[in-house]
C-alpha cells in the first residue's frame, strides 16, 4: 500500500515543482543575477 501511495507522489513532484510560482520567482532572479555578474566582473 505504502509503495503504491509513494509512486505517483514521486512521479508528479517534478510537475508540481515546475508549475510552482515559488520555483520560478527565485529561478528567474538567479538567472538575472548571473547576467549582471557576468557583465560587471
Amino acid at each position: 500500500m505504502a509503495e503504491e501511495k509513494a509512486a505517483p507522489k514521486s512521479a508528479g513532484v517534478w510537475t508540481m515543482i515546475f508549475t510552482d510560482v515559488h520555483f520560478w520567482v527565485p529561478a528567474i532572479v538567479l538567472l538575472a543575477g548571473l547576467v549582471v555578474l557576468h557583465w560587471i566582473r
Partner: protein, 435 residues
C-alpha cells in the same frame, strides 16, 4: 472563517524567540563582514567568496550534526523531499549575491554597498505578503510599523552610507551600485525558498544543509569559469594560504548568524525577520569604527550623521520587533502552510508541528508508521571532528593580517556576540528544542 492556528500564549513565546534570533542574527552577520576587508590586500573577490563558502560548508554540515544529528535530516527529507530543490536554489542565490557584494565593496566601498543591498528587507516584505500571506489581516497599525520600520532602517542605512563614504571614494560607482542593488534583490528573493521550507515544517538545520550544496556548487562553478580554470584557481588558492583561515572563519561566523536568521524567518516571517537581521549593518559599523579604527578624524557633522543613522536603524528595528503577529495573521500563515502541504502531499501533522515549533518528526511518516527518533551516529561525530581538525590546522598555518586592531573593543564585541549566542540558543532550546 479562519480558525486560530495555535494558542496565543504559544504564539507569543515563538514570536519572542523569533525576535531574539533576529537580533542575534544581526550581531553575528555583522561580524562576519570583517574578513572581506582582506579584499584590499590583493586576494581576488572570487577567491574571497569561495573561501568564505568553504567555511560556511564546513560549519553547515558540522553544526547541525552537533545539535541534532544527521539522522534528523533524513527524516526531514522523507517528509518533504521536494524542498531539496529550494534548498539548492537558495544556496545558488546566496553564492551569486555574495560574489556581487564583493565586487560592490571593491567598486564603491563597504559603507555605500552595505545599505544598498539591505533593500532586501523591503523586497522580503513584498514577497512575504504576495506569496506567503504575511501581514494579511494584520491590521493597519502592524502594516504601518513593519513598513515604516523597514523604511526607517533604510533611511538610517543611507545616512550611514553618506557619512562613511567620505573615507572610501568610489572607483566605478555605476558598476558598484548595480552590483550592490542586484545582491539586495537576490538576497531578498532568497527568503522565498526559506519561507516555503519553514511553512512546510522543515527544520532550519536540515534546510541549511541542502542550501550549502547549491552554495558550494555555484561558487565553485563561478570561480572556475571566471578565475581562469582549475590551474589558475589552484594557484590563487595557494597565494591566499595566509588568509585562508580568516576567510573561512568569516564563513563560520556567518553560518551562526544565518542559523538565527533562519529561525527568525520561521517564527516571525520574512517580513519581520529580514529587517531585524539587517541590524547587522550597525554591528558592522561598530566593528569598523571600534576595532579597525575607520572614520577616525572626521568632522563633527559626519559623526552626527553616523549617530543619527544608527538611531534611525535602531528605531526601525524596534518598531518591527514590537509589531507582533496577531492570531488572525497567523491563521493566514497557516492557510499558506496548508496550501503547501496539500500541493506536495506532505503529512498535515508534520506541517502543523513545524508551524508550532514542536518536533515535526514526532508526527507519523507518510506511510502511517511512527517515525523513529534517530540519535547521533558515528557520522555526526566524524563530521564535527573533521571540521574542527580543518579549522585548527588552518589556524596554525594562518598569519595575522598586518592591521592595527583595537583589542579591548574586539573582545567587548566578541563578548556581546557570545551573549547573543547563549541567549538565542537557550531560548530556542527551551521553546522549540531547535525545531
Amino acid at each position: 472563517m479562519i480558525s486560530p492556528s495555535i494558542e496565543s500564549a504559544r504564539l507569543r513565546k515563538l514570536q519572542l524567540v523569533g525576535i531574539l534570533c533576529g537580533f542575534g542574527a544581526g550581531a553575528w552577520l555583522g561580524a562576519a563582514e570583517a574578513p572581506t576587508k582582506l579584499v584590499k590586500l590583493g586576494v581576488s573577490p572570487l577567491i574571497v567568496s569561495l573561501l568564505m563558502v568553504l567555511g560556511v560548508f564546513l560549519a553547515r554540515w558540522s553544526l547541525p550534526a552537533l545539535i541534532r544529528g544527521t539522522g534528523q535530516m533524513r527524516l526531514d527529507i522523507r517528509q518533504a523531499p521536494h524542498l531539496i530543490v529550494w534548498g539548492i536554489l537558495a544556496g545558488c542565490l546566496w553564492a551569486v549575491a555574495n560574489t556581487l557584494t564583493i565586487f560592490a565593496i571593491r567598486d564603491i566601498g563597504l559603507s555605500i554597498a552595505f545599505p544598498l543591498w539591505n533593500i532586501n528587507s523591503l523586497l522580503g516584505i513584498f514577497w512575504g505578503y504576495l506569496l506567503f500571506n504575511e501581514l494579511r489581516d494584520a491590521g493597519k497599525i502592524r502594516w504601518l510599523t513593519v513598513l515604516g520600520g523597514a523604511l526607517l532602517m533604510f533611511a538610517g542605512a543611507t545616512l550611514l552610507a553618506f557619512a562613511s563614504s567620505a573615507q572610501s571614494p568610489a572607483e566605478h560607482p555605476l558598476r558598484g551600485i548595480l552590483a550592490a542593488l542586484s545582491a539586495g534583490v537576490l538576497w531578498g528573493t532568497m527568503y522565498v525558498p526559506y519561507r516555503k521550507a519553514y511553512l512546510t515544517g522543515m527544520n532550519p538545520l536540515s534546510f541549511i544543509a541542502f542550501f550549502t550544496i547549491g552554495e558550494l556548487g555555484m561558487m565553485l562553478t563561478l570561480a572556475l569559469a571566471y578565475g581562469g580554470g582549475p590551474d589558475a584557481l589552484a594557484h590563487q588558492l595557494d597565494l591566499a594560504k595566509p588568509v585562508l583561515f580568516w576567510l573561512m572563519l568569516g564563513g563560520f561566523v556567518w553560518v551562526i548568524g544565518d542559523s538565527f536568521q533562519q529561525y527568525a524567518a520561521k517564527y516571525i516571517g520574512i517580513s519581520r525577520g529580514i529587517p531585524l537581521s539587517n541590524t547587522n549593518q550597525l554591528w558592522g559599523l561598530l566593528w569598523g569604527i571600534l576595532v579597525f579604527g575607520e572614520l577616525r578624524g572626521l568632522s563633527t557633522s559626519l559623526y552626527a550623521q553616523v549617530i543619527g543613522g544608527s538611531l534611525l536603524m535602531a528605531a526601525g528595528a524596534g518598531a518591527i520587533a514590537l509589531s507582533s503577529v496577531t492570531g488572525k495573521e497567523h491563521a493566514r500563515w497557516k492557510q499558506a502552510a496548508d496550501r503547501e502541504g496539500q500541493r506536495y502531499k506532505v503529512d498535515a501533522s508534520y506541517v502543523e508541528a513545524g508551524l508550532s515549533g514542536s518536533d515535526a518528526n514526532n508526527s507519523s511518516d507518510p506511510t502511517g508508521q511512527p517515525a523513529p527518533q534517530p540519535s547521533r551516529t558515528w557520522l555526526d561525530y566524524l563530521l564535527v571532528l573533521a571540521a574542527t581538525t580543518i579549522f585548527v590546522t588552518l589556524a596554525l598555518l594562518a598569519r595575522a593580517p598586518n592591521m592595527a586592531l583595537n583589542w579591548p573593543a574586539l573582545l567587548a564585541l566578541a563578548a556581546a556576540m557570545f551573549i547573543f549566542l547563549f541567549a538565542c540558543s537557550i531560548a530556542l532550546w527551551r521553546t522549540t528544542r531547535f525545531n
